[in-house]
């Protein structure tokens, strides 16, 4: 860490991790309601818990991206962040808006489009914070060295802010509402967020493998190219049954297959770069997360997405637990692991120590990843059964759900294990630092 303003990332990461705990806790509560339907039914109904679960996820992921930007942009641009004050103001506004949203939901005050439930004034605060961020990092990048990593990162961030503006358009025609709602939801997670993801991964690979920047940045273009070429028209797989034209069934099916490619390319890219470097980076935990992220993203977003995105399959599986299975592993693999990788890489530098608590950190990797995989399997089985009974046999929804009890219990178990893994990560990342190995080598400025 060469630039003092990189320290701005630290409070962002702490805020992100605390909201991560809120998110997972809400997830465990929601999973409990699935298994024990009367639990909290009167005091904290399911729809409130779920809003907190999904909103906290989105907000902490964004906080992670903001922090990562403040960390990596000075090193890439070779200059300090334009205004640390603006960065602090942005953090304050963003976290305040997030907490206000949680309080507001608990009080039953919210809007009603999925994931965009924030009351209008909170949406405006989020936009203000986003604009402060964009101004701050754009000024830094414009004045400094231009790299592909920062230009792709900024493209992703500007794109995300731009698409969020569709959250303010809510026509009374439900089909139109849904069409533009996907502009925010799909083009975020299957479009511009992949740009953010790929550029953060590129930075980690450059730093940890030491492979020539030229090579890594060429790959970066290929990955984000595949992401947008497939992802934009891939929006079509959401336009099958909501009042949109039939040709989307063809476009959506074809481009959904292609949407696997950017994730597959990310797997090849990261493993190839690590293999090619032959270097032994001391932060082994960060390396594990950086390699685990594209792999799990490939399965969660890629394979599990493809599983139900052919229109002929989706006709039966649309809106069942299969979607829930895909959503969980996709978000975990692509974006949660990405942030946890970046935190693991940056925190030792931010705290001014050598990589620490690595064994604990790696344990949390395996605990969370195994729990999420198990959860995804249980929900997939539940979804397949539900699809058959509901869409083929034609049984009633509530009757079927009771038959899925066993799966929901196993999902709850996976959720509790995941929560334990998340706490383990939190302790490893933010708790007291303990060097795993002490050797005279550590007295030297750097290993290789």
């Amino acid at each position: 860490m060469k630039y003092p303003t990189q320290k701005l990332a630290y409070p962002y990461f702490i805020a992100a991790l605390l909201l991560f705990v809120v998110q997972v806790l809400a997830g465990v509560l929601a999973g409990s309601v699935y298994a024990m339907p009367n639990f909290l039914a009167e005091s904290l109904p399911f729809h409130i818990i779920r809003m907190i679960h999904t909103n906290a996820l989105l907000v902490w992921l964004l906080l992670g991206y903001f922090g990562a930007s403040y960390f990596l942009i000075p090193e890439e641009s070779e200059r300090d962040i334009h205004s640390p004050k603006i960065a602090w103001l942005q953090l304050f506004i963003f976290v305040f808006a997030a907490l206000a949203a949680v309080v507001s939901y608990l009080a039953g005050v919210h809007e009603g489009r999925e994931f965009l439930e924030q009351p209008l004034w909170i949406k405006i605060l989020l936009v203000v914070a986003f604009l402060l961020f964009l101004y701050n990092v754009s000024m830094t990048v414009l004045k400094g060295r231009k790299t592909v990593v920062t230009s792709i990162l900024l493209l992703g961030m500007w794109g995300a802010a731009l698409m969020f503006l569709f959250a303010f358009y809510n026509p009374s025609n439900l089909a139109l509402d849904k069409m533009y709602w996907w502009y925010v939801v799909h083009i975020w997670v299957e479009g511009v967020w992949e740009l953010i993801m790929a550029s953060m991964l590129a930075f980690l690979l450059i730093k940890m493998t030491g492979v020539d920047r030229e090579v890594i940045e060429k790959w970066l273009y290929v990955v984000v190219g595949l992401a947008l070429f497939s992802g934009l028209l891939g929006t079509g797989h959401h336009y099958y049954w909501i009042g949109t034209p039939g040709y989307w069934q063809w476009i959506g099916s074809i481009f959904s297959v292609l949407e696997v490619l950017p994730f597959f390319a990310m797997v090849l890219w990261s493993f190839h770069m690590v293999y090619r470097s032959g270097r032994n980076h001391p932060n082994k935990a960060a390396m594990l997360w950086s390699l685990g992220c594209p792999v799990m993203a490939f399965f969660g977003a890629g394979v599990w997405g493809l599983l139900h995105s052919f229109s002929t399959v989706n006709f039966y599986s649309h809106g069942t637990q299969i979607t829930a299975a895909h959503g969980h592993m996709a978000f975990y693999g692509a974006y949660v692991m990405l942030n946890l990788a970046f935190f693991t890489y940056a925190l030792p530098q931010l705290r001014g120590v050598q990589p620490y608590n690595q064994i604990l950190n790696m344990w949390s990797f395996w605990v969370m990843t195994a729990a999420m995989a198990f959860m995804t399997f249980t929900l997939t089985f539940a979804g397949v059964l539900q699809t058959h009974l509901q869409r083929v046999v034609g049984m009633g929804f509530m009757e079927i759900q009771q038959q899925l009890d066993l799966f929901y219990w196993m999902r709850l178990l996976a959720g509790i294990v995941f929560f334990a893994g998340a706490l383990l990560y939190l302790y490893a990342a933010l708790g007291p630092t303990k060097k795993q190995v002490s050797s005279p080598l550590e007295m030297q400025p750097a290993i290789k």
């Binding site: 779920r50 009603g112 439900l174 940045e217 273009y221 909501i242 009633g396 929804f397």
Partner: protein
């Protein structure tokens, strides 16, 4: 990766390709917008009460338990076709009464069964919401869902 692909070629492919697919997406979006307005939905019956009903739906965040045209939380039944499921096509008055009675009776308090909260909707809000369901059930959804179970 092939050495023949240079970094500047990769950059040009990225920006050029993205511009191409973005323009294509925008063109298809415009067509889709017009298709929704003119063909798949019935703008003439999109009355004030349907619009108010949509707001009732949103104000109580129904989407975070139910699904609507397959999108939502999957915790509670699909409601895009609830009007049809309640027999609204043949007996609109009966369906309306049935839906109102159901919502008024919540929560059932039955042990081991998912509970819907009591939202204390007024008669007007109930009517608006049901008008919204009725309008939604007439959207041309390419034949989805496969059956009335939703």
């Amino acid at each position: 990766m092939s050495e023949r692909l240079t970094k500047s070629a990769a950059r040009n492919i990225f920006y050029g390709g993205t511009a191409f697919f973005l323009l294509l997406f925008i063109a298809l979006s415009i067509h889709t917008h017009l298709y929704i307005v003119n063909t798949s939905t019935d703008q003439t019956t999109l009355t004030e009460s349907v619009a108010r009903g949509k707001h009732v739906w949103e104000r109580h965040s129904c989407i975070n338990c139910h699904s609507l045209l397959g999108e939502g939380a999957y915790f509670a039944p699909e409601l895009g076709n609830v009007w049809v499921r309640y027999g609204g096509r043949d007996h609109p008055e009966g369906a309306r009464m049935g839906l109102k009675a159901w919502m008024r009776a919540q929560p059932t308090g039955v042990p081991g069964r998912r509970q819907m909260p009591q939202f204390n909707l007024t008669e007007q809000e109930l009517d608006d919401l049901i008008d919204f369901f009725e309008w939604t059930s007439r959207i041309d959804t390419q034949g989805w869902p496969p059956n009335t179970a939703g």
